[in-house]
């Protein structure tokens, strides 16, 4: 669906409010929305909610052969998907610009910053390395996709455990999760993106814009930083011109925000770790708040299936026996077999009405029209006849052929000569055909003019 355009009065309203340092949801200029992180039962699965923007992240791993020019390094693969439920405007063909931009930013932020130690992902140099794949799905779009996605990615990577591998000389043993506890990835630092939206040619600045604010902004500055105040990536889009001190100021704000967010992430990871160790319940079921009236839970419900057998027997006893089973298949020639009698061709009606338009018209003109092999189109006259759609060479065929306009019909077999010779102009072409495999001739309908 097309994106609903933003009305002028809404745009003016938002801009005026921003000029007066007011935001629609009551936040201050530098405030982030509430971040909520929940984990699933599998390792590496998490859902991050930044206000109403929701991103699902999942990490998975696989043993593959390494890239040729990086034989001792593992492979990282990132994929951010804008699900169609996130916004009505996200349709498969339509979101390419935004998608490419977000994916590229994610890659720069996570791969180029070397936050994951790829050397540790090597199992056998030059032969087997781990490929870590991070899939991010945007579930609800309420602005600031990039921040939510980067948080989801880094949380999922920190949460993920890969199967343990041991190498003894030439032998490589891959342990299943039951045999040996899976091992976490080796992560050096956690880069997190912080977005700044600029309005009125850089005069006003907002951190963590929501969807409405994103629509009216002039430009966006994204700074990816880790808690050690190292900038991993910086990107300015929208064509706004920023002064040096504006950028420096933004990076200071980003430093503060990243520190807060990193603390939140570490706490969430720790909580999940604790719950798993103590054997408590974990997973998305636990993160559904009980108090909400829109949420409801039901414990395990036993089902009484003791009368299932009696019911089933009753039904079978009452059921009619199945209809006559079709006779065994008949093999006419190698490659041509028949089961059953076939159905009447439902193209029949169309054929009759079409034929009135044909110059060659009726059933009488047998030789005239012939077959136009160049266009590969033939007149089909199976219409009123019943019987199967395929024909075989005379002999013992009980099937009645239609009064087709062809004189004869040949089944071409690889080593034999065609049994009958066609009396039509296209015979030359057919004689070449014996070199091919046996061909089942088919009548094609004349294309509608």
């Amino acid at each position: 669906m097309k994106e609903t355009p933003l009305s002028n009065c809404e745009r003016r309203f938002l801009l005026r409010a921003i000029e007066e340092k007011k935001r629609l949801d009551g936040r201050q200029t530098y405030d982030y929305r509430n971040i909520r992180i929940s984990f699933g039962t599998d390792y590496g699965c998490c859902i991050v909610e930044l206000g109403k923007t929701r991103v699902l992240g999942q990490v998975s791993c696989e043993l593959v052969s390494p890239k040729l020019n990086r034989a001792t390094e593992g492979i990282l693969f990132f994929n951010l998907e804008l699900s169609q439920m996130a916004a009505p405007a996200f349709e498969p063909g339509r979101q390419s610009d935004l998608l490419v931009k977000l994916n590229r930013l994610m890659e720069r932020c996570l791969r180029n910053s070397k936050c994951i130690d790829t050397e540790s992902l090597c199992v056998v140099a030059g032969e087997k390395v781990w490929q870590i794949r991070v899939d991010l799905h945007l579930l609800n779009h309420d602005g600031n996709i990039i921040d939510a996605a980067s948080i989801a990615a880094i949380v999922a990577l920190c949460h993920f455990r890969r199967p343990d591998v041991s190498v003894q000389g030439d032998e490589v043993t891959l342990y299943t999760p039951e045999e040996r506890d899976p091992v976490p990835l080796s992560i050096h630092h956690m880069p997190i993106c912080v977005s700044f939206a600029f309005f009125q040619q850089g005069t006003y600045l907002l951190v963590d814009p929501n969807e409405r604010e994103e629509r009216v902004m002039d430009g966006l500055l994204v700074i990816a930083m880790n808690k050690h105040r190292e900038i991993c990536t910086i990107q300015s889009s929208g064509g706004i011109m920023l002064l040096k001190d504006q950028v420096l100021r933004c990076s200071k704000i980003a430093g503060v925000k990243v520190a807060e967010i990193t603390e939140l992430i570490l706490k969430a990871l720790e909580n999940d770790q604790k719950v798993r160790k103590e054997g408590g319940k974990f997973g998305f079921a636990e993160s559904i708040a009980n108090q909400r009236i829109t949420a409801f839970k039901m414990e395990k419900a036993p089902i009484d299936t003791s009368d299932v057998e009696e019911k089933a027997e009753e039904i079978i006893a009452e059921a009619e026996p199945p209809s006559e089973v079709v006779s065994t298949p008949v093999l006419w020639t190698p490659g041509t077999a028949q089961i059953g009698e076939g159905v009447e061709n439902s193209w029949g009606d169309l054929e009759d009405s079409e034929k009135e338009d044909d110059e060659g018209g009726g059933d009488q003109a047998i030789i005239l029209d012939g077959i136009k092999m160049d266009t590969g189109v033939e007149v089909s006259d199976i219409g009123s006849q019943g019987g199967p759609k395929h024909w075989k060479n005379g002999a013992d065929a009980p099937i009645i052929l239609s009064d087709s306009e062809e004189e004869e019909m040949i089944i071409l077999e690889p080593d034999k000569n065609p049994k009958k010779i066609r009396t039509q102009t296209t015979s030359a072409k057919q004689e070449k055909a014996p070199s091919k495999k046996p061909v089942k001739r088919r009548k094609k309908k004349r294309a509608a003019n």
């Binding site: 169609q84 439920m85 079921a285 829109t294 414990e299 036993p302 299936t305 003791s306 057998e309 019911k311």
Partner: protein
């Protein structure tokens, strides 16, 4: 834990009625459902069955592309996204099954030349995925206020090598089973809307599974009713 429950129930059944080991007390896993959790779609629901979780979002009735419009009813579209990797043929086939089920219950003729889109995202897969998708889709359609002539639910059951029936199988049970059958049942008369099966089974077993699924669907519909009552009641 699942296995323990089954063995206990099996023993009980044998002592009680002295019937064959078939048809022990099966049980459905822990259910949870949250509606209206996403702000952009018209209706959304997250359905959890044990560890299997599916998130559904519904947009509709909304504008439809001219190429896809149907003159006398709504065009229903179902999109299923797996968690890892790109969607493949299995997803396409599940989308079709879910679409056929939805088309049978949604009153499309009330909204001609519109589109109703159901988007499903697999959040975690631990067995009976298709059944969970069906349940999530139904709850999301209800949340979106799409007119339907009945509710529907999905129930999966597995038959293991000695013919024991297990309802709502986990992925381990599905892997070890001889046949896995998923049914979509409607709420008015527990009639069958859709069935998708994989594996080898006899027609007696099919009827048994269907009867068991119908018994299980009672519980699922009661769950729907209670969760909607909780949401819409004034107390």
């Amino acid at each position: 834990m699942e296995e323990e429950t089954h063995t206990d129930a099996k023993i009980r059944a044998e002592n009680g009625t002295g019937s064959s080991p078939r048809g022990p007390g099966c049980s459905l896993r822990h259910f949870a459902c949250e509606q209206n959790l996403l702000s952009r779609p018209d209706g959304s629901a997250s359905f959890l069955q044990g560890d299997t979780s599916v998130l559904a979002g519904v947009y509709g009735p909304a504008e439809v592309k001219v190429s896809k419009e149907i003159f006398n009813k709504a065009t229903l579209e179902v999109i299923l996204r797996p968690k890892i990797g790109l969607p493949g043929v299995a997803e396409k086939s599940r989308e079709r099954l879910i679409r056929n089920t939805c088309e049978a219950v949604v009153l499309g003729t009330l909204h001609p030349r519109t589109s109703i889109t159901v988007v499903l995202q697999v959040v975690s897969d631990a067995g009976s995925l298709l059944a969970c998708c069906l349940n999530a889709a139904c709850m999301a359609l209800v949340d979106a206020g799409v007119p339907m002539r009945a509710l529907f639910c999905g129930v999966a059951c597995a038959l293991d090598s000695d013919g024991t029936l297990v309802l709502d199988p986990t992925s381990k049970q599905e892997k070890e089973a001889r046949a896995v059958l998923t049914f979509a049942l409607d709420s008015v008369e527990r009639k069958l809307l859709m069935s998708s099966t994989k594996g080898l089974y006899s027609d007696t077993e099919l009827q048994q599974c269907l009867a068991a699924a119908q018994a299980a669907s009672q519980h699922v519909f009661r769950f729907y009713r209670e969760s909607l009552q909780r949401r819409y009641s004034k107390s």
